[in-house]
Amino acid sequence: MSALAESARSTRRTARRPTPGLVFSIAVLSLFTAGALLAPALFPAGSGAQVGDPYAFPSSSHVLGLDDAGSDVVAELLWGARVSLLVGVLAGVMTVVLGGIAGLVSGYFGGWFETLLMRTTDFFLVIPVLPVMIVVAALYGTRLVNTIVIIGLLSWPGTARVVRSQAKTVRQRLYVRRARAMGASHGRTLIQHVLPQVVPLLGASTALAIGHAIFFEAALRFLGLADRSTTSWGQMIADSFERGAITAEAWWVLLPPGLAIGLVLLSTTVIGRQLEQRTNPRLSVSHLGLRSFRRPTPVQEAQ
């Protein structure tokens, strides 16, 4: 047992050292967040303000050139980041709150309640996301709030499943049973003993959910199912397609938002996976199933 504990401890120690990927990811997210926050100060005219000729080539005054309306692509990118990141964070948080509660409660209580919740989860899991989003956008309009709510409502089942399995193992722990024997209520036991064990997992899920939400928002924009009064990275891509940026060979209009989405999605995935690995050193395959990693054996550690 002590050997196992020893290996777990050393695994954690090696994981503490931030990997280059993690540093890069945190840098990317910090950069975009700072840009989004500073957008009103840097470009007070807002997005869509004409500052020169349409599709002007990148120059020293406009590093990423101008788009079809003659507005600065940097300004568009930073103003767009506000919407993209806002949707990402809010929908991501909504995903994790819904999935976290469903997973925690069903994993902790078990029984018919768990069955009911998990069948609901299965139901939501098999719903194809995009068609539903199209229908909802058609029925309830394309306001930003709708986008956030739809993304949140359709992505919680994944989180719920992961959280449930963790809650199920924690429920069996002796200290949870001891708390119950001492007379602690279910609510107290859940919050004091079960939730803290699940929080790291929720952190990882949040990072992943934010990335996914940003991606879905872009997809909705591309399909024209979003509010045009604001811009976002997805909107920039959609606009460049619709307004002939490609025929104009204005790659500087198309590439930045695409790269931004790609980089943010990559960063949230890296951060989410690293958080997951750190908090669960015994996890051999992530729930995304993208890549498995080996836990160093005590022998390897000793070398």
Partner: protein, 354 residues
């Protein structure tokens, strides 16, 4: 004292896991200031009895009365009040304490659960007091420590502090020393003896007969979900009447026995709890069983008092029934010689005559 109801009465308790009858009609009474040891091998139902006693398992039948009130049927506030009077100490102190809780959090948790005081200073005073009573020296220095920074013995004392901080009437200790280093066991057991002397009723689950003999006021031997023998440790251990108790005693390593003579071993396995034999549960393994043992499920019967202290000695064995042909203690061995043609090693501890 005598008119007051006993601190803990486990009354005709049944615990079932599906078809398996883990605990079958078990009754144990523990009075304040008494330490009762429940002894038996793994799977005999002793831990299930403990879990049902603290309300973690719902028994199929029977009651658990804490200071006279039934815990099984209690709900809501009444149940919470009862749970305050009966506290559990678990076998594995490493698992029983939340790794994210400091020592202070662990010991203060019952106080918060039962809303004993809103004053943090008072709470800390109670915590320190409980730690000191549990034998944690310089308790203040431990308050901010986490379980992983402490040893098993210290953790078990902290778990005990957490169990006594509410001044309970009853403590249920589920093998409280079996995970500890042998060198630390005596200290923790001494602590239980001290708590008993302070008036707490203690039900200690153990598989260690020697522990039971040294610290308990009464020993309850369980086999396959039943109580088979009960009595004062000196009586039960010096003149065990149930063949299972005799077998358990014979299994205790004895340095005086020569190495060449093999340790007696009980043949077979405990019965399947889902398909119990119709008669005595111990009959298939019993070295001294009679024909009627396969038919009669023996009940606990009081033995004629052999000591002048009028200690109650209960045995569930056909051979030990009053009026049975062979009442004397030596009888099982003699019967074994007759029926099996081989001397039974099981009663080798029986007395000087062997």
């Amino acid at each position: 004292m005598s008119e007051e109801s006993p601190a803990l009465v486990i009354d005709h308790l049944d615990v079932r896991y599906g078809a398996r009858r883990a605990v079958d009609d078990v009754s144990i009474t523990v009075r304040g200031g008494e330490l009762v040891a429940v002894v038996g091998e793994s799977g005999c139902g002793k831990s299930s009895t403990a879990m049902a006693a603290v309300g973690l398992l719902k028994p199929a039948a029977g009651s658990v009365r804490v200071t006279g009130t039934d815990l099984v049927s209690a709900r809501g506030r009444g149940r919470r009040e009862l749970l305050r009077s009966i506290q559990l100490i678990c076998q594995d102190p490493y698992e029983a304490l939340d790794p994210r809780f400091t020592v202070e959090d662990v010991v203060a948790e019952p106080l918060l659960v039962h809303r004993v005081t809103t004053s943090a200073a008072k709470r800390r005073a109670l915590v320190v007091g409980a730690l000191e009573r549990a034998g944690v020296p310089a308790a203040e220095g431990y308050l901010g420590r986490y379980p992983h920074q402490l040893s098993g013995g210290q953790l078990q004392r902290i778990a005990i502090a957490s169990a006594i901080v509410l001044e309970p009437r009853v403590l249920i200790a589920d093998e409280p020393v079996s995970m500890l280093d042998v060198s630390l066991r005596a200290g923790v057991l001494k602590l239980f003896a001290d708590l008993r002397d302070s008036g707490i009723a203690i039900l200690m689950i153990t598989h260690d007969l020697v522990t039971a003999a040294q610290y308990a006021d009464r020993v309850v031997v369980m086999y396959a979900g039943r109580v088979v023998e009960e009595g004062r440790p000196d009586v039960v251990l010096s003149s065990p009447r149930h063949p299972y108790t005799q077998a358990l005693l014979a299994a205790v390593p004895d340095p005086e026995r020569s190495r060449s003579s093999p340790r007696p071993e009980l043949p077979g396995e405990p019965p399947d709890l889902a398909a119990l034999p119709p008669g005595c549960r111990f009959q298939p393994r019993c070295p001294v069983s009679l024909d009627e043992c396969a038919l009669v499920d023996p009940e606990l019967h009081a033995q004629p008092s052999i000591s002048p202290t009028h200690a109650i000695h209960l045995v569930a064995c056909v051979r030990a029934f009053p009026g049975a042909d062979d009442v004397p203690t030596r009888a099982p061995e003699a019967a074994a010689v007759q029926s099996r043609g081989a001397p039974s090693e099981l009663s080798s501890h029986d007395g000087p005559a062997s």
